[in-house]
């Protein structure tokens, strides 16, 4: 009995060697292990049924060379055919899974809900705006009007902006600022947001715009995020204030960029020589240093290296950011569906390092996994069941991968109360001092320019 086993073992080891040749042996220089090992169960190969069961038709059992060769060839062919059959079966299994997936796992659409079609239309409009004739005024109006189901009048909005532009232009003349200087325009605009501006000849006055602490993330009322609300009430937050700033900058032909930091957005601009960048913190109407933004403690070096924070956004990046604004509005109003994914993809094509888009994408991926698991009836207690559903596993892996991307970009979640504390710290003495210094510096620059 035992001897039989031994010969079989020998045949089994010789066989692959014959087929593969001696090449692998030359490559693997395995040194003999000299220390004797205590045998354990798994060291012995399991020679159960399959070794006995199949009638040993092995080619090596006949002495005739020719017959032996023929048998060998036949055996190889048979093996190949079996392999093919197995592959075919696997493929049909995968195809089945794919079919059932596309039917069952894609999120239910909100497309039929009242108001959803306005978002589709707004998305199309945004997509059709090319970077060359991109107007932030139009884009923001489109986004906000989708929320209001296109009940607002563009002309009305346009008139308000134009009138404000006239006011600013007039003030420029009154102050004797150089109408060609970008710095002068930007600085006046900054004063428009942070100080009381008056045109004496006409007796018009504009009060500073203020920060609205109430529901500043638009959790209860999404319209709190809007420029429309800011224009109506004179109060805004870190989304609407910089957006209005950009709209007015566009109106008076000034150049300024939006920049992002954790949970926050602000304005960056350059002096006329393009030597130095300045930051405008509109929520408190102050000029700030980079150090102030970094002091939040939530900007990682990786985020700077990947340019997701504190970097002036280009036109394309701004478009990408606004597309996500639209998407967030849709999510707030309806929820996640495949249309959200469409908007995310578009935003990522415009700006492949849009961290917010990746964040929303990982949320979308999570919701998708939850949906699929619900459909399959898998919960925490029977999570192992997921192994039976390759597409669900795929979704799960995709979700993990999404979170990894967000991590890798250097994004770090900033808790809302930490955010509030940081934003309030702008009123600290050192920051106030810096604000005054920067203001004086810019003012001198503008006045010096005027005298040239």
């Amino acid at each position: 009995m035992f001897t039989k086993l031994k010969t079989d073992l020998k045949l089994n080891t010789i066989f692959p060697i014959l087929l593969l040749g001696v090449f692998p042996l030359l490559n693997a220089q395995v040194l003999p292990d000299l220390t004797p090992k205590t045998p354990s169960t798994n060291q012995f190969t399991n020679y159960s049924k399959n070794n006995y069961g199949s009638p040993v038709n092995s080619a090596l059992h006949t002495t005739n060379q020719k017959v032996r060769n023929q048998l060998l060839i036949a055996e190889v062919e048979r093996n190949m055919q079996e392999q093919k059959l197995r592959e075919k079966q696997a493929q049909t299994l995968i195809n089945d899974a794919l079919d059932s997936f596309s039917k069952n796992y894609s999120l239910p659409s909100y497309g039929n809900k009242v108001g959803a079609s306005y978002y589709r239309r707004a998305f199309e409009k945004l997509q059709n705006m090319s970077s060359s004739d991109f107007s932030i005024k139009k884009a923001i109006f489109t986004i906000e009007n989708a929320f209001y189901e296109e009940t607002n009048s563009y002309d009305e909005f346009d008139t308000t902006i134009k009138q404000t532009g006239d006011f600013l232009r007039e003030k420029m003349t009154e102050l004797g600022y150089d109408s060609q200087s970008n710095l002068a325009k930007i600085f006046l605009l900054f004063q428009f947001f942070s100080d009381t501006l008056q045109i004496r000849s006409k007796n018009v006055k504009h009060l500073p715009l203020t920060y609205d602490f109430n529901d500043y993330m638009g959790k209860d009322d999404w319209s709190k995020m809007f420029v429309k609300k800011l224009l109506e009430t004179g109060k805004g937050q870190c989304n609407s204030l910089p957006q209005l700033y950009l709209i007015l900058a566009e109106e008076i032909g000034a150049e300024a960029n939006l920049a992002l930091s954790p949970n926050h957005s602000y304005i960056k601009f350059q002096d006329d020589q393009k030597w130095k960048w300045y930051n405008v913190e509109l929520t408190n109407g102050m000029l700030t240093t980079d150090a102030f933004i970094l002091q939040s403690g939530y900007v990682k070096a990786e985020a700077l290296q990947n340019k997701i924070y504190m970097h002036p956004l280009s036109k394309k990046q701004l478009q990408s950011h606004l597309t996500m604004n639209l998407a967030l509005g849709y999510i707030q109003k309806f929820g996640y569906d495949e249309f959200v994914n469409e908007m995310i993809s578009n935003a990522l094509t415009l700006d492949p390092s849009n961290a917010q888009a990746y964040q929303v994408k990982s949320n979308y991926a999570t919701i998708k996994v939850k949906y699929a698991l619900d459909k399959l009836g898998i919960g925490k207690e029977n999570f192992d069941e997921i192994k039976k559903h390759p597409m669900a596993i795929q979704l799960y892996k995709n979700m993990i991968a999404q979170y990894k991307i967000v991590d890798k970009l250097g994004h770090q979640e900033m808790p809302p109360d930490e955010y509030q504390r940081w934003l309030a710290s702008v009123k600290e003495e050192s920051n106030k001092q810096q604000n005054i210094e920067l203001k004086t510096k810019l003012n001198t620059k503008i006045l010096l320019n005027n005298n040239d």
Binding site: D290, A291, L294, Q295, S296, G297, V299, K300, A301, E302, L304, Q305, K307, M310, H311, D407, G410, Q412
Partner: protein
Amino acid sequence: MIKKKLFILVLFLSISLWSQDQNKLYKDTLEQLNCMLKDSCQLSFKKAVISVENAYYNNRLDTIGFNFEINRLSSFTKSMVDHIKLKYQGRDSLKVKKYAALFSVVIDTIPIADKDGVMYEYIPYTYDFEDIWGLKNWDFMFVSKLLETGKGNCHSLPYLYKILAEEIGADAHLAIAPNHIYVKHQNEIDGWYNTELTSGIFPNDAWLMASGYIHLDAITNKMYMEALTDKQSVSMCIIDLAQGYNKIFPDNNGEFVMRACQIALQYYPHYINGRILQAETKKKIFEKEVKKDFDVFTKEVSEDDYLRLQFLEIQHEYVSIHESGYRRMPEKMYLDWLTSLKKERKKYENKKITNPEKSN
């Protein structure tokens, strides 16, 4: 008289032979490190550090003693890994345990009981505020000095940490800040976080960035605060080697240092110390050539085509270094900044990462 002359001759010869020996040793060491970078030899940070220090000591570094100490420390660290308890709950907690043990061995005072139950205290390594940049004694930067005296600086402490990490099979990334080296780790829950060995704190990135001592561009350009790979770390060793060479042979012709810079910058092109050393060496060579041909720097120099191009190249290099965000930091400013971490601990401490010894 002849005897005296002969004696002087012999002395002179032996000195020149001796320095020739060290010159060769430096060249061999450079090739050895280059071999690691080229993947022709196995990369070992420990070996790299030992060979750099041994070259400085002209082959008289007690490598056996060095290795013995490292082995002792790494087996101590390994036993710490088995006993440490963490609040950390991520799936990669074994890895994080290793990081915590490494930190304790380098920084913490650890009570140890021997087999009879007698308590001992393990005394950690401390920061030496004297001659922090090795201006008077270059070997103040060395790990061997740290092992011998128990005192180190922002060069030797993270190097020792990295060596021990390598020994116990954990990954540790060196990272640089102006005149400073610290350690970066990554775990599943917190992402990247910093380990600061000179003060034994886990500071958040704001400590470095908001300090006002680093230009934002320098971070964006990865000059600072980048988690370095092993090859980049060996490139740093090569620049250390070249700097040591300059200390031993102050009047060298710059050839060796240029070659070292060239190799190091091939694998770590934006290494600021390498770029500066290269620019300085080019300047040195340029000045020597000017002195040889013109004696003093006059207008005629700029009429010499070769020298003019050299000058422009050097100038271009300095401008490019400045533009990438580099600013020199005086020693006093550096010390202020380093101690600011302890003073403003609350502000800059990463609250999610805490010292295992103190949190339990």
